[in-house]
């Protein structure tokens, strides 16, 4: 009787995979949030730069130092950063979708397998 309640090794393996995918989804989610934060930061800075006078005194952070910089150079630099972050965000979004889909597929397989009791899985 108790033998029937044991989880087959194949299902155990799939459960471990499911856990891994969940960890992966969380990690990608965290990365995406970080990149979104950086993107917002760069966009805000670009917006604020536009509001400044014609010849503002601007500094760029280089490690612990603040180095005087030219407005146009800083704008160019921030625009490049914005493009890079946007690209990274899109890549992470695609990655997140892919992993999420895999997770859902595996979850469904597992539900079917567990619902069928100890019958061997057909997949």
């Amino acid at each position: 009787m108790s033998g029937n309640r044991e989880i087959p090794p194949q299902v155990q393996n799939q459960l471990a995979q499911l856990q891994q995918l969940k960890t992966q989804i969380e990690a990608v989610g965290r990365q995406k949030m970080q990149v979104e934060g950086l993107l917002r930061d760069a966009e805000n800075a670009l917006g604020e730069l536009e509001k400044l006078d014609e010849n503002p005194v601007i500094y760029r952070a280089v490690g612990e130092l603040m180095i005087k910089a030219n407005k146009e150079d800083v704008k160019e630099d921030l625009s490049e950063k914005r493009e890079t972050y946007d690209l990274r965000r899109k890549t992470l979004e695609r990655q997140e979708e892919r992993v999420q889909k895999k997770y859902q597929q595996l979850q469904q397989q597992l539900q079917e397998a567990l619902g069928a009791g100890t019958q061997p899985m057909g997949t």
Partner: protein, 162 residues
């Protein structure tokens, strides 16, 4: 009759497990939201400090002596070379020089944005707490029903520690 009771028990146990899982998810979300809220509150405090410092700076004059903290409760003496030049961070590793009034205005705007986030987060946290309370009540109901209905009470332990 005996078969019917077992089915009901199974259903209750399944519902209890599902509720316990949702409760844990709410708790994790609430913990994360509380942490973010603390960061936002800290940032609001920093903005208030910067606004107050800038206001005080306006009352000083060039050549006045100041003590600037360097960490570990230690300070150094500095002589003020300008009272109308404040460097504020714009984001993206970029800072700009502004006069005292513009700086205060800028810092106030940023503080307002943070306060809006604080309000949103507080609302979210309250909703999460309400939802969690509802789930907790339902769990207790199931748990007590299991105890009084069958006398086994085996599922109680599962719900109590969530």
């Amino acid at each position: 009759m005996e078969r019917e009771v077992t089915e009901r028990e199974k259903e209750q146990q399944a519902e209890g497990q599902s509720l316990a899982l949702r409760l844990r998810q709410y708790q994790a979300q609430a913990e994360k939201a509380s942490q973010e809220l603390r960061f936002v509150q800290q940032a609001i405090g920093e903005h208030e400090k910067a606004i107050e410092t800038t206001k005080q700076l306006k009352r000083m004059k060039e050549g006045d002596e100041l003590m600037v903290p360097i960490g570990a409760n230690s300070s150094i003496y500095v002589t003020l070379s300008a009272t109308d030049k404040i460097i504020v961070q714009l984001g993206g590793g970029v800072s700009a020089e502004k006069d005292a009034d513009s700086s205060i205005q800028y810092l106030k705007e940023k503080k307002e944005e943070l306060e809006n986030s604080q309000r949103e987060m507080t609302g979210l946290l309250q909703n999460l707490e309400q939802e969690a309370q509802k789930l907790q009540a339902r769990l207790q109901e199931i748990s007590s029903r299991t105890e009084t209905g069958t006398g086994t009470g085996t599922a109680t332990g599962t719900y109590k520690n969530v």
